[in-house]
């Protein structure tokens, strides 16, 4: 009779491994935060806007610094500061169910509005709401307008309910840009609008977008050289934030593409915080934002099992480029409209289903995993239906885990690990088919 096998706990964690592109991005972000926090000294003005529908090229035309509240909330989540910010916002009176990006931002302001570089954020000069399907954004800026007593501009993007962009939609948006958005930005910034300057930025945008798409589509290879969700979140950082349309972004994406292509050529898998990922055992498509308070822990649950994410919808919230759209310098205002219309949050449920179904098929994924965000109605509504439909259309199994954006109270590691591992073992069993699977 042999005794039950006992294993000892794992060894202590090593230092985090980073790609060179990650280090490059970190330097870019640090420089950007320094630009923002030194605005009072340099005399620059700042504009807040959101990642989906981010009109960075236009904002730059007015010499405004783009300060994105969502990105600040993500930074707070990654630095484990968001928990206290969320509590602070709840103390002010925001309910437990409110989007935790909002609460992190409001709580951060209440606690001195300190940027990741340790210096104070300046109050924004203008809030540019480019509305792309998430109703909470509107309420968020209502709160910020009240707080900062600053100007607010709204660009309304019609919802893609029928799944296509019509000339009327573009016309409606261009009219708003011409009659409302641009004149107001001119007045607030004191800078005259120069359409050629916009064209120049859009040209840069398209270059970076080409490289981004090549990076993301590298995941079609087996093994995938990237993780298109956890790694993907780093890759989208500059282009979804304040760098789209800049030389910096063009350089970064060229560098990133070369890095990924080298991995691809060498048949290597993704780099994880613990170094090179081992054997690729599962290929997943993920829907929904990640959790940021336990980002590495969450990622580790995947790579420890040999699961790599080959495509994700979240890496499309700030723009969908893999179906061919590029910013077009020849139609500067129309292209901004078309960009806003196409972002993931503005896509209807049937469009999301189709997109995810395509991803599962084109990236030869084993199935779909949904990370449902407790405090995000914009993403969560309809997710179960999306799951069922994608399952039906692809014949591949799907599963559901639940967490939150930046509220650490909603991250239950044991629960998520349990579900994820169950799902991966389910995939394994399905692969083995009807025969007795172990």
């Amino acid at each position: 009779m042999t005794a039950t096998k006992i294993v000892t706990p794992k060894a202590a964690a090593k230092d985090v491994e980073k790609d060179l592109s990650m280090r490059k991005q970190k330097a870019m972000m640090a420089a950007h935060y320094d630009r923002i926090t030194s605005a009072p000294e340099t005399g620059s003005k700042t504009c807040c806007t959101f990642v989906p529908g981010n009109l960075n090229e236009l904002i730059m035309c007015f010499d405004l610094l783009n300060n994105l509240p969502e990105v600040n909330a993500i930074q707070a989540g990654l630095r484990r500061a968001s928990g206290n910010f969320v509590l602070e916002a709840e103390k002010i009176g925001h309910s437990e169910d409110v989007c935790t990006y909002v609460k992190s931002d409001i709580g951060m302001a209440a606690k001195g509005n300190i940027a990741p570089n340790g210096k104070k954020f300046p109050d924004p000069d203008v809030l540019l709401l480019s509305y792309t399907g998430c109703f909470t954004f509107m309420k968020w800026f209502e709160l910020l307008r009240e707080q900062y007593k600053c100007e607010t501009i709204m660009l309304h993007t019609p919802y893609m309910a029928d799944g296509k962009v019509t000339p009327n939609m573009i016309e409606y948006m261009v009219k708003q840009l011409k009659e409302e958005v641009i004149p107001k930005l001119e007045r607030i910034s004191g800078v005259k609008f120069d359409i050629d300057r916009l064209r120049e930025s859009l040209k840069q945008s398209a270059k970076a977008e080409d490289d981004l798409v090549r990076v993301l589509q590298a995941a079609k290879a087996k093994p995938s050289p990237i993780d298109a969700y956890f790694g993907g979140i780093y890759y989208i950082g500059p282009i979804f934030g304040a760098f789209r349309g800049t030389e910096d972004a063009v350089d970064y994406y060229r560098f990133l593409r070369e890095e990924v292509e080298a991995r691809l050529a060498a048949g290597q898998g993704p780099v994880t915080p613990d170094g090179d990922m081992g054997e690729e055992k599962y290929r997943l498509v993920v829907e929904g934002p990640p959790n940021y308070t336990n980002f590495r822990q969450f990622w580790k649950m995947f790579y420890e099992e040999g699961a790599v994410v080959v495509a994700s919808s979240y890496t499309k919230v700030g723009g969908v480029y893999d179906f061919g759209f590029r910013h077009d310098p020849d139609k500067p205002l129309e292209t901004l409209a078309e960009y806003c219309l196409g972002v993931y949050t503005n896509r209807s449920l049937p469009m999301r289903i189709e997109m995810l179904t395509n991803y599962v098929n084109e990236y030869q994924a084993d199935g779909l995993l949904i990370n449902s965000i407790k405090s995000c109605n914009s993403f969560s509504a309809g997710q179960l239906l999306i799951m069922r439909e994608v399952e039906k259309r692809t014949g591949k199994p799907a599963a559901f885990v639940e967490s939150d954006l930046v509220d650490p109270r909603y991250f239950s590691a044991a629960n998520i690990k349990n579900r994820l591992e169950s799902y991966l073992q389910m995939v394994e069993q399905k692969r083995a088919g009807g025969r007795a699977a172990a």
Binding site: M1, T2, A3, T4, K5, I6, V7, K374, L384, R388, E391, P397, A398, A399, F400, E402, Y410, F411, S412, A413, A414, N415, K417, N418, R419, E421, S422, Q425, M426, Q429, K430, G434, A436, A437, A438
Partner: protein, 445 residues
């Protein structure tokens, strides 16, 4: 012989199932999960092997003529005598450990008195042991901690009073010792304990001696069978810290799905309500999980919730169901939040609502939550198997039947008396398959 062990480490209890090479269950064991998973796993698998030994006796003695119709009686007596042997052995360990705890400032001046009192307490515990293991005797629990604990409390209170010693000192030595004792695997060879148990029943009833002698060889040859632990698979909510290596761990969801399929091959939907989670699982005709949903980090409405309610009402967990069954007007309760359960209960009692109606309402609330989880996993498809500790609760089952019928029509609902072992059963079959797969690969190489 080769055996395959599945261990399900739950938040409350740890279960083990031992399978033979033809996927037949030969033994089941259960123990409290303690704060030590490794010990719980060891104890539960040991218990399952002991139970397995009885299965082997049954097989061997049945084949040898079945003791002329007295087989059940004989095996029953053997099991009781064996359990008593085990109990006495652990009692001895507890006594020695308690004696060792009589030290330090608190005991200054009373050391001898407390030691003498301990001798008396344990003498009384040993004296009443045969009564605890008499035919038909009802024990509150089969776990040593529960049996020894409640009896120790009674006796030490009496002894303390009689010898005018502080009762709390006697409790103190017990509290410090029990965890140590229950985390120590029982010592001594099992075969010896079986032989001592056999001697005990022969001494108690010499008339069966001739009959037993006739099968003595069968008994000895059965005891000689080595139950080789060929492969172990662990599962359960404690999986994050399961004391097994990765190759030996399977998801509890898959184990429950497969276990339910083994019990009822027609199963397509499984509901498992355990201590701290509720799972809705869809399985295909091969027992492979097709989809699942479970509660998130909040364990509202799981088994533990009923535990709190029982504590709050000063009742035993097993008494809740029967009381709820007496209700004809269930209270409307929507919240299954465990934290607020006590407050809600007290509020309703103070408003004059009947205990049985409140309990019936609470059971309904739990099942409503479970139904929501099942519907998110894809609904109920015939046949439907209900597993987990809560499946033993008749009031919960009544509500479940009602709600399944309302929402999904006539569906066969399976509830196995051994349903608490569903996860361990699935795990043991995974162990058997993993071993078979490994052997196949070795042959191919």
């Amino acid at each position: 012989m080769k055996t395959f062990v599945g261990i399900d480490l739950g938040s409350t209890t740890t279960k083990a199932v031992v399978l033979d090479e033809s996927s037949q269950v030969i033994g089941r064991g259960i123990t409290n999960s303690r704060s030590n998973y490794a010990t719980a796993a060891r104890v539960a698998s040991e218990e399952a092997r002991i139970d397995g030994r009885f299965t082997l006796f049954r097989r061997a003695l049945g084949a040898a003529g079945g003791l002329h119709g007295h087989l059940d009686e004989f095996l029953g007596a053997l099991e009781r005598a064996f359990r008593m042997e085990q109990f006495l052995e652990q009692l001895e360990d507890l006594e020695a450990t308690c004696r060792g705890q009589v030290k330090g400032e608190r005991f200054t001046g009373v050391e001898d008195g407390i030691r003498e009192a301990l001798v008396e307490v344990f003498k009384r515990l040993r004296e009443e042991a045969p009564e605890l293991y008499a035919p038909g005797a009802k024990r509150k629990s089969d776990f040593f901690r529960d049996i020894a604990g409640s009896r120790y409390h009674n006796h030490s209170e009496d002894v303390a009073r009689e010898s005018k010693l502080p009762y709390d000192l006697l409790l103190n030595v017990y509290d410090k010792s029990i965890i140590e004792v229950e985390n120590r695997p029982p010592a001594g060879a099992l075969s010896e304990k079986f032989r001592r148990a056999l001697d005990r029943i022969l001494a108690a009833d010499p008339t069966i001696k001739a009959e037993v002698s006739a099968v003595q060889d069968n008994i000895e040859s059965t005891l000689a069978i080595d139950l080789e632990e060929s492969y172990v698979v662990g599962t359960g909510y404690g999986r994050v810290t399961l004391p097994f290596s990765k190759d030996h761990i399977r998801s509890e969801i898959l184990c429950h799905g497969l276990g339910a399929h083994m019990m009822y091959p027609g199963t397509r939907t499984v509901l498992d309500i355990g201590g701290q989670d509720t799972k809705g699982i869809q399985v295909d005709p091969n027992g492979i999980v097709a989809n699942f949903q479970m509660n998130d980090r909040c364990a509202a409405g799981c088994g533990r919730y009923l535990g709190y309610i029982a504590d709050e009402m000063n009742m035993g967990l097993h008494e809740l169901g029967p009381m709820a069954m007496k209700s004809d007007r269930p209270a409307r309760i929507n919240s299954t939040c465990t934290v607020f359960a006590g407050a809600e209960l007290r509020d309703r009692l103070s408003l004059g609502e009947r205990r049985e109606d409140i309990l019936a309402g609470l059971h309904r609330a739990i099942i409503l939550r479970a139904i929501s989880i099942i519907s998110r996993s894809g609904g109920v498809t015939n046949e439907f198997t209900f597993t987990g500790g809560v499946a033993k609760n008749e009031a919960a089952v009544r509500e479940l039947r009602k709600l399944v019928k309302e929402n999904y029509g006539e569906v066969t609902i399976n509830i196995n008396p051994e349903s608490i072992y569903t996860g361990a059963l699935g795990a043991s079959e995974f162990a058997r398959r993993a071993f078979e797969g490994g052997a196949r690969m070795e042959r191919a190489a």
